[in-house]
């Protein structure tokens, strides 16, 4: 069995105390631990102290406020997947939360942990011994990239299932720092460098995600493909949110947002989708056009353990099917 390195653990009761504890040099947050603990076993970091958010009760709420559904960062993935209001308002969010990893991991993992999930790479998420055999890389003990051999920027993959979905719904993220809360569009939180892909300011703790309540009828879907039906990180990850003129798949599309994960270190927002606006969602050209744009703009890399050309082909297939399934469901 792999051993954890030695570290101290603190379990503050309030968000303020958590923010204060995080100010200690090298301190890292544990918000469920299903990502950081395996990474520590792999010696990707050796923090002197871990600050656990498990006792911060204020992070565990789901509420509606100012036209948003607000989900606290400490809410578990299982709770999101099973929550009545989440399921009613944002079925793609509930679905995505419910297909993360496995039931046991969803019971431990939280929203905050998931949106802050570290990027992943086949050359990084291995033991220290294994990485020594290949000489390390930009994100570990070395100075090369094994995915893009001459690359100078790490391209480890943003592998959260929830980020594309929450992004497709126009969510914002609220981080609590020493100087108070900071709200920003969720998709602006991610950057292209896989070694530091989130723009979390020093001392900040993610407090909540705010999803704007839809102002028009919508259809939303998350398409995930992995080799296995449980446990795996996504290999294909496409979130689609369509706004409609009325509550029918035969109604005109008034807006569409597509966000794709597991490419590089940040989610990709698919552009040039305007031409489907005004068409009926049930018009077969909508699914085809969206899938074509997705395919043209999304280029998976060999960063996660699966063939990239196949993943690229599948992003198109799964994007198209997602819209066809929306139509079929009515």
């Amino acid at each position: 069995m792999l051993r954890l390195p030695r570290f101290g653990v603190q379990t503050p009761d309030t968000l303020e105390d958590a923010v204060a504890a995080l100010a200690q040099p090298g301190a890292r947050l544990v918000a469920g631990g299903t990502d950081i603990l395996p990474n520590l076993k792999h010696r990707l970091d050796q923090p002197p102290v871990l600050v656990s958010l498990s006792r911060v009760a204020s992070l565990r709420e789901i509420r509606e406020e100012d036209g948003n559904l607000v989900i606290g960062a400490g809410v578990t993935l299982t709770e999101i997947a099973e929550h009545d209001r989440v399921r009613a308002l944002f079925p793609s969010v509930a679905y995505a939360a419910g297909v993360i990893a496995s039931p046991l991991i969803r019971n431990m993992g939280t929203l905050g942990g998931n949106v802050n999930l570290d990027t992943r790479c086949r050359y990084v998420n291995q033991t220290h011994f294994w990485r020594t055999a290949i000489g390390g890389c930009l994100k570990s003990e070395g100075d090369v990239c094994h995915v893009v051999p001459k690359g100078r920027i790490c391209v480890a993959a943003m592998s959260s299932d929830l980020v594309p979905v929450l992004g497709s719904l126009g969510s914002t993220l609220v981080n609590q720092g020493p100087d108070g809360p900071r709200e920003l569009p969720l998709l602006d939180y991610y950057g292209a460098d896989g070694t530091a892909h989130i723009k979390r300011e020093p001392g900040e703790v993610t407090r909540e995600v705010r999803i704007p309540l839809p102002s028009t009828p919508t259809r939303a879907r998350y398409a995930k493909w992995t080799v296995r039906k449980s446990i795996d990180f996504p290999l294909v990850s496409v979130a689609i949110n369509v706004q409609l003129a009325s509550d029918s798949v035969d109604a005109e599309v008034t807006g569409v947002s597509v966000v794709v994960g597991v490419l590089g270190s940040k989610p990709r927002v698919v552009t040039r989708l305007d031409e489907v606006i005004g068409r009926k969602l049930s018009d077969a050209t909508v699914a085809h056009t969206v899938a074509t744009r997705v395919h043209a703009q999304c280029k998976p890399l060999e960063n996660v353990p699966y063939e990239a050309p196949y993943r690229r082909q599948m992003i198109r297939v799964f994007a198209q099917r997602a819209i066809e399934e929306m139509v079929a469901e009515g």
Binding site: Y123, Q126, A133, P305
Partner: protein, 794 residues
């Protein structure tokens, strides 16, 4: 998930045989209180870790452990030079040492071992051991390795990188092929796979004040481990005791000694303290000994009515860094192919190469799962070309009972045709196969497997198996057996046989197994030998005791011994069942008459069931099991994803001694074959220094419950004169047909031949697209044109 449409067989005595039993260790396992090797904690126990090579091929120039030894809490460091005696599970190929002496041969090869107060200290100490290497050119491709005489991988090899070569020929192969109506030629590749038992290897060693060394190990071959420990440690075997605690799976992955067992023993001897070593999951992947990758080129001849005339097989085995069981694997790659189908001419040419990879060895269905994939696909191709039904064609070729194979093995009972009939009926093959639309398909495959090997690994004339049973005054039987229960249920099998003969309920039987101080020698859990061999030995011992007990009771009742039967915890007068006595009392009468009630039984194999040619004993078995599978698949033409819906598994195990356990073995085998067909790849990455690309259970993908098809176990019983109550094996045979049945079902579904494993979505999709292109160019007719096959792919 099984059907019970057959009448339960009736039995002479006891009533256990053929029943459904709770495994003797089931409750403690379910409650989580079983003590596995890693649960053992001894006072003052040290923890050991092994430093491993980060290079796939390197000469060791120097090892400096002084900084590690200077650390507080570090007690000892050993290197290859402390245990320099080469060993090997096959006595003719001793080509490995406990730790590398001169060279490291793959990424993960063991270099040095530290014993420290705790694991964390040991891990820190590994970092402080300074090893200087001269990196050598690694060879990953077996064919390339065979050609490179200038770069010998294993220093103990006598023939460069050729680990073993076998060429055997029976009948006029070239002439027969020439006269055949149809010759199917095919190239197949079977990717390597590993066992992935949930329990990692673990060993604990302790030196008693008397000087006796005890080694507890998660092994499936305690006896062979005992012998190799004596050899490598240069200690008499009578001062070593090996105990196998309950095991968390093995599947062939624990069937030879590993570095950790020698290391803990040596460190315990050096430090005078108990030492434990538990592998990480990554180390389990490196220790491997899993299924060999095989590249196979087959030519198979047929008459126009579908009779197989000749098989010509050319095989390259990728052996990895060490021999392991490779000598046997190389024979098995050809020797086990000559049933269930009879044919008159056969040639196989197999070569095993050393490469700079984790060593391959035996995995469930050792050596014969790969050639079975090739031959069953060949037969499917022939059936299509000849316009025959694939099940009819297999029935037509069944070698039948009491037959001799072309390579001179004698087959006793044979339920293969019945297996085919059962899967045909249960899968609704005849009706369904005509109607399934494009994308859906059914495939069939058959196989045979051995119930133990005719000869032990080291030549000797002693019994292959022995059991001792004692009865005591409380009405209890104790069964002492050297056999390793690895989860297959062998301890329960022994309780069923002893209970059946002695009329005891299973809870009154204690099976004490796999402890070399307490138990008679058994060779271990490999080649599906235990039910037949150890079962026969147990039956003999139990029958001797039954005779003693019934004699004593008959004497008390003044009736002939044969009027007394033992059943339901009582001795009963057959002619006057009102007259009975509890078995405890009957045992006391017998003990008064005879002294301590103890009997032994032993088993050795018949020596007239194989050929006299060199190699003719390898692969020969007292009895052969037979299996047929039908798989139903749903292939997504746009993604290449193969969804295996159901596998019907019919298996002739001779006689099912314990039905649920047999069904469990059948389902578990079919699952394992399915996993190899669809997902598994145990490989190294030549582009990245020969590392295993994913030595973890996240990256080495095994199917979850959600991915697993429905598995329908159909027990077929064709009792064999060689087996106890007619029983043959059930633990490995039922794996074989899964893979070719799925391959053949994929062809039935979408018209593409998957001749390389695994059938991953990118490969299946590429094959579908290649076929579509040929259809478009007019080179091929659409597959299943009237059932949707001509549609454009999405």
């Amino acid at each position: 998930m099984s059907e019970h449409d057959e009448p339960m067989p009736t039995h002479e005595t006891g009533g256990h045989v053929g029943g459904v039993h709770r495994k003797v260790d089931a409750m403690e396992r379910m409650r989580g209180v079983t003590r596995y090797t890693d649960d053992l904690k001894l006072p003052r126990m040290l923890h050991a870790k092994i430093k491993r090579s980060p290079h796939p091929h390197a000469k060791i120039l120097s090892i400096d452990a002084s900084a590690a030894l200077a650390m507080p809490g570090v007690h000892a460091v050993i290197t290859g030079r402390d245990l320099p005696t080469p060993y090997g599970i096959i006595p003719w190929t001793p080509d490995e040492t406990a730790l590398c002496v001169e060279k490291a041969l793959y990424v993960g090869d063991g270099i040095a071992c530290v014993a420290a107060d705790d694991e964390d200290t040991a891990i820190e100490a590994l970092e402080k051991i300074d090893v200087k290497y001269e990196v050598l050119e690694p060879l990953y491709d077996p064919e390339q390795a065979l050609e490179r005489r200038d770069n010998q991988i294993n220093p103990y090899s006598r023939k460069g990188n050729l680990s073993k070569k076998v060429l055997l020929e029976f009948g006029d192969i070239d002439g027969t092929l020439e006269q055949s109506d149809l010759v199917v030629e095919g190239d197949y590749f079977f990717e390597g796979t590993t066992h992935a038992a949930i329990e990692p290897h673990c060993a604990v060693a302790h030196v008693e004040p008397s000087g006796v060394l005890t080694v507890w190990s998660a092994t499936q071959v305690s006896h062979y481990l005992h012998r190799e420990l004596a050899k490598v440690l240069d200690m008499p075997a009578n001062r070593i005791r090996v105990i196998q605690p309950p095991l968390g799976g093995a599947f062939g992955g624990k069937s030879e000694p590993f570095d950790l067992e020698f290391c803990v023993a040596k460190l315990a001897l050096m430090t005078g303290r108990p030492v434990k070593l538990l592998y990480t999951r990554e180390e389990v992947f490196y220790s491997h000994r899993g299924r060999h990758p095989m590249k196979m080129k087959y030519r198979t001849g047929f008459t126009k009515d579908g009779k197989i005339t000749a098989v010509d097989a050319f095989t390259i085995l990728d052996g990895g860094a060490y021999s392991s069981f490779g000598l046997v694997t190389t024979y098995y790659s050809g020797q086990l192919l000559c049933a269930p189908y009879g044919f008159d001419a056969y040639r196989f040419h197999s070569r095993r190469a050393y490469t700079n990879k984790p060593a391959c060895g035996p995995k469930r269905g050792h050596g014969s799962v790969q050639p079975r994939f090739a031959i069953e696909c060949q037969i499917d191709k022939a059936a299509e070309q000849l316009g025959l039904d694939p099940i009819d064609m297999r029935l037509h070729n069944d070698i039948g009972p009491n037959a001799q194979t072309v390579n001179e093995f004698r087959v006793g009972s044979n339920g293969f045709s019945e297996c085919l009939r059962r899967v045909r009926a249960s899968s609704s093959w005849d009706a369904k196969r005509k109607e399934l639309p494009y994308g859906r398909g059914l495939g069939v495959a058959g196989s045979t497997y051995i119930s133990g090997t005719n000869y032990p690994i080291y030549p000797n004339d002693m019994p292959q198996a022995a059991v001792q049973i004692t009865l005591d005054r409380s009405g209890r039987a104790r069964v002492f057996s050297g056999a390793n229960d690895i989860g297959q249920g062998s301890n329960t099998m022994l309780a069923v046989i002893a209970g059946n003969e002695l009329g005891l309920p299973l809870e009154h039987i204690r099976v004490l197994s796999a402890d070399t101080d307490l138990c008679p020698v058994d060779l271990g859990a490999y080649s599906s030998r235990i039910t037949l061999m150890v079962g026969n030995a147990c039956l003999e011992a139990a029958q001797k005791l039954r005779r003693q007990v019934t004699t004593a009771v008959g004497k008390r009742w003044d009736v002939p011994r044969k009027r007394v039967t033992l059943a339901d915890g009582q001795a009963i007068d057959r002619e006057d069942p009102e007259r009975n006595v509890p078995l405890a009392e009957a045992f006391q009468w017998a003990e008064a008459d005879e002294g301590l009630l103890s009997a032994t039984g032993s088993y050795n194999t018949p020596k007239d069931r194989h050929g006299d040619y060199r190699g003719g004993t390898i692969g020969a078995s007292p009895a052969y099991s037979f299996t047929a599978h039908v798989a139903e698949v749903d292939v997504d033409r746009s993604t290449g994803i193969v969804d295996v819906k159901t596998i019907w598994v019919a298996h002739d195990c001779g006689r099912a001694l314990s039905r649920k356990i047999v069904e469990g073995q059948m389902e578990g085998s079919a699952y394992m074959g399915f996993a190899e067909a669809i997902m598994e790849q145990h490989i190294v990455d030549p582009g990245h220094n020969g590392v295993h690309p994913g030595p973890s259970l996240l990256d080495y993908r095994l199917p979850t419950f959600l991915d697993t098809p429905d598995l329908e176990a159909l027990i077929v019983e064709s009792p064999d004169a060689q087996g106890p109550y007619g029983a043959k094996e059930a633990g490995e045979g039922p794996l074989h047909p899964s893979i070719p049945a799925i391959a053949n079902a994929i062809y039935d579904a979408v018209g593409v031949r998957m001749d390389s494993l695994p059938f991953t979505p990118p490969r299946v999709l590429a094959a579908i697209e290649a076929r579509a292109a040929r259809e478009k160019a007019g080179e091929l007719e659409p597959h299943k044109p009237t059932l949707g096959g001509a549609q454009e792919t999405a």
